[in-house]
Symmetry: C2
Subunit: 488 residues, 2 copies
């Protein structure tokens, strides 16, 4: 039975690959070269519309703009209303196609701290540099507006080359990804027919740092938490009571330090226990990923990675325990000489398929209690304060996103791999797991068909941070990569 399926898959794959011209890369590349101005212009227009998920009126402007964009590029476009931000939808039926591919991108972006940017406004894109090394600086330049423009450019390029996509195309553009996509799963019931497909291709995240085409089989999940250690009811004078009044910032520091060793390995008991060991095929796949760490470290300005995970690909196969923020009283201009009333660490735990959030959070709670803390669910009352010397609270601060992972043996995965290999003359970089999270796991589960990621943007794009940017060379190459997927 297993081998029958494999044979069937190979037949399908062969048929599709046969339909793909050997010079696809050159033909699409030439189109992009000739139409750079127009393609970049369309991206700049899109980036000029602010897109923080909570900014409803601008989100609506984005949706309407994208609706027009998909229509202009030959898709049957629609705005799909939800209880939250609208989804933008596009469809293109290809006569004779035996497969339907649903492309997923998101048009919302992370909140901005405009004062930290090297430009007045993150929503007024700035172009710096020359040629393929030029970069567009703007919120969502990389995450995730450029893949949308790259996708319609790839469709145009195929059309100009007289080629149809080898699959029916469906496009769904999410307006709440950075707010955890609450409307995506509910939309399935309402728009079932439009979302029917054989494969989902997620265009999001950075390509491998080598800049080579990249195919990704899964992504980590995420859970976000706040960990607060309580001190006195309100801050007390650090002189009058210093040495005597326990300091919650120090206790938080000691608690956090107890959670990880100096090498970056989580010390919380059992944290890694459930993680599946790699198969030989997976091990070989990870080993084949180019080691680009020297260049990445230089770009990030860091001398050495964590000792526990000197190779990035190994690091991404494991769950994380990351401190994403610290706060206690004030630092800088407003600083006061007190023992603070509390100290909080904002944490994010990246999940792999075998370590769902409830499991890791339970282990984290047990660890905190083992360090002598009494865990409370709300600000402690007087009786609780009088009883326990060490008080802390651990709260989830957002919905959990689960991890997902499509087997490398999946026939659709094998078909994309073959098309990308043919287009570029060598296999793409294959990543077993993307380190980042896409709020796609429950969507995939509910849809019932496999999903793959084809990330195209430069790795050093300052995603989620100030000065987010897109390298034009990566963008143009990404159009060719997407064309290869359209011709899988």
């Amino acid at each position: 039975m297993g081998s029958l399926i494999r044979v069937a898959a190979l037949l399908v794959m062969t048929a599709v690959v046969a339909a793909q011209p050997a010079d696809l890369r050159a033909r699409v590349g030439a189109y992009v070269e000739a139409h750079q101005k127009q393609i970049v212009g369309e991206l700049l227009e899109l980036l000029a519309i602010p897109n923080v998920a909570a900014d409803r009126s601008n989100i609506r402007r984005n949706a309407e703009h994208l609706h027009g964009l998909l229509g202009r590029h030959g898709l049957t476009a629609d705005i799909l209303e939800t209880a939250g931000n609208p989804l933008v939808y596009g469809a293109l039926d290809v006569p004779g196609a035996t497969r339907t591919v649903l492309f997923y991108c998101h048009y919302d972006g992370q909140p901005v701290d405009a004062a930290k940017w090297n430009q007045p406004d993150p929503f007024k894109p700035v172009l710096r540099g020359e040629g393929k090394d030029a970069r567009i600086y703007a919120r969502s330049a990389s995450d995730d507006k450029s893949p949308i423009v790259a996708l319609v450019a790839a469709l145009d390029a195929l059309k100009a080359a007289g080629l149809a996509p080898s699959s029916n195309v469906r496009i769904i553009l999410d307006g709440e990804e950075e707010a955890s996509s609450p409307s995506l799963v509910p939309a399935i019931a309402r728009y079932k027919d439009r979302l029917r497909a054989d494969l989902m291709v997620i265009l999001d995240g950075p390509a491998h740092s080598s800049g080579r085409p990249t195919l990704v089989y899964g992504a980590r999940g995420i859970a976000t938490l706040d960990l607060t250690v309580f001190g006195p009811k309100s801050g007390v004078h650090s002189g009058n009571y210093g040495n005597w009044m326990p300091n919650p910032a120090l206790r938080l520091a000691a608690l956090l330090a107890s959670m990880k060793d100096d090498d970056g390995r989580v010390l919380v008991a059992g944290y890694y226990d459930a993680v599946a060991p790699l198969t030989a095929e997976e091990r070989a796949m990870l080993d084949a990923v180019p080691d680009d760490s020297a260049r990445m470290l230089e770009a990030f300005g860091v001398a050495r990675p964590e000792k526990a995970y000197p190779r990035l690909q190994d690091a991404l196969q494991q769950p994380t325990l990351n401190i994403r923020g610290l706060a206690s009283s004030f630092v800088g201009a407003g600083a006061r000489t007190i023992v603070p009333d509390r100290a909080t660490a904002a944490l994010d735990l990246r999940l792999v398929k075998e370590t769902p959030a409830p499991d890791l959070v339970a282990k984290l709670r047990a660890h905190i209690e083992k360090q002598g803390f009494h865990l409370v669910d709300a600000d402690p009352d007087a009786a609780t304060r009088a009883k326990y010397g060490k008080l802390a609270r651990l709260t989830m601060t957002g919905p959990v996103m689960n991890a997902f992972r499509t087997p490398t043996s999946d026939p659709q995965a094998r078909a994309i791999l073959a098309s990308m290999t043919k287009t570029f003359g060598q296999p793409p970089v294959q990543l077993r797991m993307l380190g980042g999270s896409v709020p796609i796991a429950p969507f995939i589960e509910a849809l019932g068909f496999p999903a793959l990621l084809v990330p195209i943007v430069n790795f050093d794009n300052n995603q989620h941070e100030e000065n987010e940017n897109l390298r034009l060379g990566a963008f143009f190459d990404g159009i060719v990569t997407i064309a290869a997927v359209l011709r899988m």
Copy 2:
């Protein structure tokens, strides 16, 4: 020689004490009882003028108001201009007085975070509660405007009782204490004659938590520092690089945790080495301080003090290493899923006389280096980032205030002690060191005469924090205490 001095001191003391009526407490108390409304009214008026040191125009309004207040209460008043905020000055010569006492208070207050207060405006005083337990809530209600009003009320009370102060009175009101009093020492050269005295009495800080009259021989100094640990040049996505990119918030946590043990004892090598052991007299004095820890802990909502210093008086004889603030990226609404670019702890080191700031800071730097950090003086450049795995910066964030301590054997100290003992029928609580800092050490050194503190406000006044308050009972008792000092 030693015993000659002692005999002379006793003679002086006896002469002054003889001049003090046995019923001073009752007579001043009765005056206060009869004039509560007027005295509290004068304080409320003063508290209604915003007094953050940087707010120049309101600081000027405070100075002018205080100038009028001192004049109305029978002092020759003046505004002494400085390069910074003005000093307010008052003088009262007493025929036949053989001693001049310079009273020091400050009229500026800590910055406010109005949103955290239980009232709309920290500069619109709110009165809550009944009788002597009623409290005035306002910035500087305790720190340090009420002692100013208490001082003029004490002068009025003596006058009403037909008593002159036993010393010439000088008053200096500082407008920059919370900004480290930069104009105080320079003012000595300019206003030398007016600042000539035999003793300085500092009216600042909380009285002992028992509420008993309190006499203090010294105060700790302070140095404030920021400790920053550097991560990647800018924050990087915690999913794409989590487990691989070292996290500066975790490294800061581990570094801070390495500085103190779980009991609150500083682990920095040699931190306590220079601290002088207590003499038998000092030990007895500390032992005589009432242990009010149960009530304090309840008020602060804390189950147990630091294990290293279960008794507050012991805690105050040692230098501190306090975390007064933590900051790294964002916590709460703006939180982003990144490995932050840096993490900073705002520290304050409370100093004792034998541990000046340069000594403790040098030991702290050595400790940080021993933990594997390379210390930089500015944001690290690319070459520094490439070379060192662990980068940190330790910077002083304000001027150092030294500690001071007047020997208990000082004749002026013995005279005040005797007057307070007679007035209240028992010795005051005597504190070898106040835990907090007064920017007075260089001022004392430059003036060349001894200084003592007579703090009067309630210990649980939320000094330096939101909801700062003054218990009226403490305020009224404080007027009697100051009258005893005026009649020393």
